[in-house]
Structures are given as structure tokens and as C-alpha cells.
Symmetry: C2
Subunit: 216 residues, 2 copies
DNA sequence: CGGAATCCTCTTCGATACTG
DNA sequence: CAGTATCGAAGAGGATTCCG
């Protein structure tokens, strides 16, 4: 059993489950879809193999994470968010928002386009669930797909499983600027850094739902 | 310098500052108003004096916490939330909400009415700032006062500094039930477990703003 | 080969004692 | 009252080995 603060306070109880090192970063990775053990090891350099196994076991016990079997050949085992993991979105969203207010990232820090995609997705926890169009999003060479089902947004890494209704492609730095609110969709489109493949109206709807900045 | 994940991701950057043991619980304490060093030691049993000093120093550097001088005789030094600490409210609110969904608290855990008051206050980050009436709230013998100034809610532990416009008194277990959504204001009032001292309309307005459950 | 337990070293934590 | 100093215990990081 993990160390506990032994306080009835809901914040303390949450931190009993989530507060140890690496725990919330594992959850962050799973926001972008299911991941194999080795995917997580790669995404979290420094974690150490036994610690990752211990954290996953702990999170599984608390239904933050659940094991899934990946489709396709190989029947690979992987991890995805469980019920309590889905409920973590607001926590991760608040942390992401707060972290965005910190001074600029020091040099040498790792950089992964999927983190910005996750930040985008976390900003629209509830509203974006209504966006039912299968959308493929490519940022700086990283591709994910997402689709709302009315209740939540499903998101996975990799190309869309069927032909997407909307395909968005964006240069990495432009996407960072969009998510940080330092550039507008119109500028990104006209400079060719952002491209919409599909109905233009669907693209605009996507930008609105995920609160990307529009021209002033 | 504390250990860092060295990832540009905003969530990881936030956790670099907030993710170590005890850090967010220090912030939680300060949501209920300024605290002296010894107050914090008492509120966080197990923390160890050097660790508390180290955490406070670290949080001060990141402007999550700032030092203040308490009014009144003694000119006691104390700690309060800094700019980034005020911005932490949504993070703490999300954690509190998530922690409320966990299974019931195991026996033996510490219990403090102020934690429920904090949970209440965190639920109404923005809206409640408009509640300008100086309000004194007593739950199970713990008294705090709070007042909105249009921008944020100010809250301090202890009796109100001047004559409050509204005074609410509630039995501990009833207040817990109200905050958890397991009881209604009307039931609590009619059973005498909750009492309003002041304009009845102000009390109702307070309950609405802080989303206490009303009769079905 | 991917998934995980073992071993060892280093860092962090917790408790007590001590100081301005 | 507000911290610093110290030290044993627990946790984390890295390499290697084991299992399927």
C-alpha cells in the first residue's frame, strides 16, 4: 500500500492516489490513447522499469487505468484510462492551464507535439464531445485521430481507422502558438502552416469548439 | 533545485513545481487564509520541520506562496497564496472534485471541518466573487469569514473582522452532507442543523452561489 | 521481443534534537 | 515561535537479468 496523508480532505485523498512521482504523467500519456508498456517507458525517460510496473498496478487498482488488448495482429496488451482516469480530465486540464502560465521552458527540455494536442483536447472536456466527425490531426509529423460520441471525446495515436471526415495538418511551432493563444487560425491558414482537408465549415467548427484563437 | 521531469509539456512543468510531497496540501491550507509556520506544521502532521521550510522556500520562489505580516499585536510573520497560488484554485478544485468520487474515507483518517469549507469555496471559483456580503461561517466549531470583491473571494480563518452581514452556523455532519450533495438546505434548516443569522434572502443567495443542494 | 522482477546506489523523506 | 542540523528509513533511478 502506498504512503497516505491520512486526511479525510478530498484533495488529500486524491493525492494519496495521484500524488506520487510519474503517476499523473502516465495518465497524461493515456489521454492521447492507449499505450503499451514500452510506449510508456519511452515517453517517460527516467522512470525505471519496475517503478512503471508498480505505478500501473496501483493505478489499475484504483480504476484510473485499465488493461486493454490492442486490435490487429499480435493481440498486444496495452493500457488505457479507466473510469476514474476519464474523470481525471479536469484535473489534467487545470494543471495544463496552470503550467502554461509558468515562465518559458528552459532549454534542453524534451518536446513532443502530442503534448500540445493533449493540451488542446483537455481544454474542451465537455463541449467537444459533440464533435462527431472523425478527425485526423497531424502536427509536426505526429498523427492522432479523435471523434466525439456525445458523451466524451475518443482519441488515439496514429492515422484514423477509416477515412476521416476532416483532416488537419499543422506545422509544429504554429500549432504551439495556436494552443498558447499567440497566433490566429486565419494567419496560420493564409501562411500555409495550417491546412484543412475536408469541409471548410467542419474545420471552422473544430477550431471554435477547441477554442483556437480567431482573427481579431 | 528540485528534481524535474525535463519535459516541455505544461502538465509536466506544473508538476515540476507542485508535484512533490506535501506541496499541494500547503496550498490547500492557504486557501482558507494566511497561516503561520506553526499553523502549517500542525495542519500537516508528519511533514517534518525542515521539509516544510524547504517547500515554503520553493513555493515562494515560484510565487505560489508569499510572506505576509499578520495585523494586530505581535507583527507575526505568516504565509499566504501568491499570484500563482491564487491561480491554483482550479487545480485544487478539480482535485477536490475527483477525490470526492473515491470510496469512503477509511477509519482513522484526520477530519477537519475547514476542509469541507475549502471544498465549498473551491466549487465557486469565479461566480462567488460577486458575493460582496461579509459572511461568517461556523461549521462544527470552526469559524471562517469570506467576502467577494468582484474579482475573487477573500477568505480567512477566525471570526469576521467587523460585524458580518450574514452569519451561517451548521453542524459538522450536516455540512459534510450538504457539500457532498447528500442533503438539502431546506432539510438542514428545518431540522435546526443549519441556521441563518441575517437577511434570509442573502442566505439563499449564498446557497445558490455555492451550489448547495435545494429541495427537489 | 515486450513485459517485468532484482540488485545496487543515490536522493528524498520523516522524526528528533538543537539554535537564533 | 521559526526555523536549521542530523540521521535512519523509505523511495527513486539505472543496469542487468529473467520470464513468455
Amino acid at each position: 500500500m502506498a504512503r497516505s496523508y491520512e486526511q479525510g480532505c478530498h484533495i488529500a485523498r486524491a493525492l494519496d492516489v495521484l500524488g506520487e512521482r510519474w503517476t499523473l504523467l502516465i495518465a497524461r500519456e493515456l489521454v492521447a490513447g492507449s499505450r503499451r508498456y514500452s510506449d510508456l517507458l519511452e515517453a517517460l525517460p527516467g522512470i525505471g522499469t519496475s517503478l512503471l510496473a508498480a505505478r500501473l498496478k496501483h493505478l489499475e487498482q484504483h480504476r484510473v487505468v485499465r488493461q486493454v488488448t490492442l486490435p490487429g495482429p499480435g493481440r498486444t496488451a496495452a493500457y488505457a484510462l479507466g473510469e476514474r482516469g476519464e474523470a481525471l480530465m479536469p484535473v489534467l486540464a487545470a494543471l495544463s492551464e496552470w503550467g502554461g502560465g509558468l515562465p518559458d521552458t528552459p532549454p534542453g527540455y524534451a518536446d513532443n507535439p502530442v503534448w500540445s494536442i493533449i493540451a488542446l483536447r483537455l481544454r474542451a472536456c465537455a463541449e467537444a464531445a459533440s464533435f462527431g466527425i472523425l478527425t485526423e490531426l497531424t502536427v509536426g509529423g505526429t498523427t492522432v485521430w479523435l471523434q466525439g460520441d456525445g458523451e466524451r471525446v475518443r482519441m488515439e495515436t496514429g492515422p484514423a481507422p477509416t477515412n476521416p471526415g476532416l483532416r488537419l495538418t499543422c506545422a509544429k511551432d504554429t500549432f504551439y502558438a495556436l494552443v498558447k493563444g499567440r497566433a490566429t487560425v486565419e494567419d496560420a491558414l493564409s501562411s500555409g502552416q495550417l491546412a484543412i482537408d475536408g469541409e471548410a465549415a467542419d474545420g471552422q467548427h473544430f477550431f471554435d469548439l477547441f477554442r483556437l484563437p480567431r482573427a481579431a
